[in-house]
């Protein structure tokens, strides 16, 4: 056996160390997946009402542990207590939302097509049900220690669907992950939920991630993280002897397009809103609007000046860990070195500033932006690119983007023709379009789509947020000519349903 690795809770602000956790071994992966297989079988046949009770109890347990969780999450991430409070609220809301959703039965996707013995040939009774896919591996990111963490949206939707989950916790916040897993285990045990329904593997080791994706009894993967790691694990998932669905959310540039009229009419509001959206959470949101198209001309010039003024009031902020600081500096250096790119910075950028990031805007032309691939990779931090172009060329520019999680338009009523042209293009490029708003601060509701074409995600048909996220972990089974007494409870009813 390889020597055990220890993962230590560390404050990015101070470098102070807290609790230490054993890193998962390959044996731990096998054990978690084995327990998951047994738990999946039992959980899949647990009525939705009882599954909902476990989700709600987990939500209550998180709420009860709020003081500890928020303190530890803030210590490990540097995101600040208010943000950790809000994120815990969202995590609790998500668990309760999926609990309520499965109680309605809508997740089961029941369709009943009655038979017709008089048809030629006679048509048998057919009833369709969505059932859980089996154990799901969940890979959590660094930037949402709670809402995409051990009990975040992926785990909550998989558990609601009737799947066991094996979570690979991010090494940037091991103690937060541990607290969430403990809250779940206590709540679930009290309600008699199966052992192994949720396992936490603490690890930052690529071979452990790979072993989890390769495990025979893992039936789907939900991943939130970088394009590089996401594609690597996607490749593992689809290269298995039995390929499995890989739901990867890999980040995005989230372009904003601003009309000349909007720039003129709402200069300060847009400048303030945009810079707040770029710098919120130290710019470490997958929905951060990393590029903004500002029209050439006086109104656009004034908007860029206003953005610059907004930026100047902001000091350096703390990133989640030192690795991200290093990556961001490398990205910023690559962007700076492109001819035709100039920089507006909140303060003089400090080389070697550790986990601190200085909010920064780059300004360039559309020609330079599309000619340089370096400019079109995500800056994971409070850094964005302003692209100056004629508004009339923005629909054409929009068509040059690949898959995005979001795209945003700022426009006035007189711009409707232009807005419609942009919408028509952006629908084909993004999972969510926003009008006169900002992509960060995603609302978790039934109609939410958090997804999009590759490389925003590896599964363009699905959403990672909102009630529809549960569909990722359900597969259809049809029952032909079964008598009621032998049908699953959801199907044992005679009236036709579904179209």
């Amino acid at each position: 056996m390889a020597p055990a690795v220890t993962i230590v809770s560390t404050s990015p602000r101070t470098g102070e160390q807290g609790a230490a956790f054993d890193g998962a071994s390959r044996e731990d992966v096998s054990h978690a997946v084995l327990l998951g297989a047994a738990a999946s079988d039992s959980w899949a046949h647990t009525p939705p009402g009882r599954r909902a009770a476990v989700l709600r109890a987990a939500a209550d347990a998180l709420n009860s542990a709020r003081l500890d969780i928020v303190r530890v999450a803030d210590f490990e991430t540097g995101l600040g207590e208010p943000r950790c409070q809000a994120e815990l609220d969202r995590t609790i809301l998500q668990l309760r939302m999926f609990a309520s959703f499965i109680e309605t039965g809508a997740h089961a996707g029941v369709i009943v097509s009655p038979g017709d013995p008089a048809a030629s040939p006679p048509r048998p009774d057919m009833r369709r049900l969505l059932i859980p896919i089996g154990t799901v591996a969940v890979f959590t990111p660094s930037n949402f220690p709670l809402a995409y963490g051990v009990l975040g949206g992926d785990a909550a939707s998989a558990l609601a669907a009737g799947c066991a989950v094996v979570v690979k916790g991010h090494p940037s916040h091991p103690h937060t992950s541990d607290l969430c897993a403990r809250a779940f285990h206590e709540a679930a045990a009290a309600l008699g939920a199966p052992v192994g329904l949720l396992s936490l593997l603490q690890s930052g080791a690529p071979d452990i991630s790979r072993a989890l994706v390769e495990a025979d009894d893992v039936h789907a993967v939900a991943f939130t993280g970088s394009q590089r790691v996401g594609r690597l694990l996607f490749d593992v998932a689809v290269s298995r002897p039995r390929p499995i669905p890989f739901y990867g959310e890999l980040g995005s540039l989230n372009p904003l397009f601003i009309s000349e009229r909007a720039a003129g009419a709402r200069r300060d509001a847009i400048a303030g809103g945009y810079i707040a959206s770029v710098t919120g959470g130290s710019g470490q949101f997958c929905t951060k609007p990393g590029v903004v198209f500002v029209p050439v001309g006086a109104a656009g010039d004034a908007l860029v000046d206003a953005m610059s003024a907004q930026l100047s009031g902001r000091g350096p902020s703390v990133l989640l860990n030192a690795g991200l600081g290093e990556s961001l500096r490398a990205r910023v250096a690559a962007t700076s070195s492109v001819a035709g790119v100039s920089s507006i910075s909140a303060a003089a950028p400090l080389p070697g500033e550790g986990v601190h990031a200085v909010p920064q805007l780059f300004v360039t032309s559309d020609a330079t932006f599309f000619a340089n691939e370096a400019l079109r990779a995500e800056h994971f931090g409070p850094v964005a690119i302003v692209v100056r172009t004629e508004a009339s060329k923005m629909p054409e520019a929009a068509a040059r983007f690949d898959g995005q999680l979001t795209a945003t338009i700022h426009a006035e009523p007189e711009d409707d023709a232009w807005t419609r042209a942009l919408v028509r293009v952006l629908m084909t490029r993004a999972g969510r379009l926003i009008f006169n708003g900002y992509p960060t601060g995603l609302a978790v509701v039934a109609a939410t789509t958090h997804g999009g074409p590759y490389p925003a995600t590896t599964a363009p048909l699905h959403s990672a947020v909102g009630t529809t996220a549960i569909r990722r972990f359900l597969r259809p089974v049809s029952f032909q000519a079964f008598p009621d007494r032998l049908l699953p409870a959801e199907l044992a009813s005679p009236e036709p349903r579904g179209a």
Copy 2:
């Protein structure tokens, strides 16, 4: 340029040759995909009612060309005119079913979550719509020249979804493919549908298939065919710089499980039904029940005798092409060579019998069946394996199967506990369960699932048949805080919908 390949319509019965068609070149692939991209953009914004009209006109055009199509399909496939008539009926029905379905608007998956300005933070209005994914490549199989052909379920559902399609026609029936494409083009042109909405590439060349899956402007693939070719093309689809969904239906063993009571009570009916299901269409259905579990003991013995008697009345049948004859003989030879396998044949098997196949049953034990992988590969033809085992061991045996399109149980009311145990296992293994029936002769209704875990398909969340098949070609987009006037028509309505 490579020299043009010619694909000749050939009768498997007589070897007689008919019309010849130019095989597609790589330039043809590029051209079809280029036309498809333009057509997809226009078609995606064509209202569902107008799309429905084109699908109905195509159905009518097929019906008008019925005499020619049935004659040519029968000539090229040897399936017989009644089967070709029935398959054309199903093809027409499918086109009309998707036309009616999109007129209901249900395919658009609209969800409206109203905003709440009083919430903290304020919640924006969110509206979700499913939109077409873009051009779809369709690979048609040899065994369903019409229902899974150029205007079969994959093309019909993709067109209904709002996607252009590029069909790679199977070289075993080029003239049938050509007639179907012509019927569509005339009907579509008369209604002003975009050029390039459906293109037919005639080819049997692996590099042409690969080029189509690799084409940048192809956004999804629907494939019906063998596990070998399906996996090869799946690997191409997921290895692209931008991976795309690959909906492969790769065939299945479709196990049947028979209780002792059912064997006793319905011996002759089951023997007749089973042998008819195995030999129908010369056993070339993806739903052919290629393995049947018959209980040991007197009732099972008598059932096997009755199956044997049913078989003896049947002569050799014609396969779709000589390549399939060769493959089947190789498979049969491999099965025959396994120790512990005995054979019941309708007639003395003729080595080198060309396109003719002799209906044949093999008999073995469950131990032998599961110990030899050669026995668990599909026999594509009128050949099946009888596995003798104790009924009480059948649930355990069922758990040893990998993904299947279907699984069937024959049981009496007194068997309910046994049946429930089998259902619980088989739900996790198959896309459709059948009670006291046979898997062939699939009903095309809303509740149909034609799918299942790998290797039955490469996309376990989806069905290739029935109205839900359209979901494969739709992806969600959410509109946040858009005024009604800027929303797609489907969303421009204020009332909340969806849960």
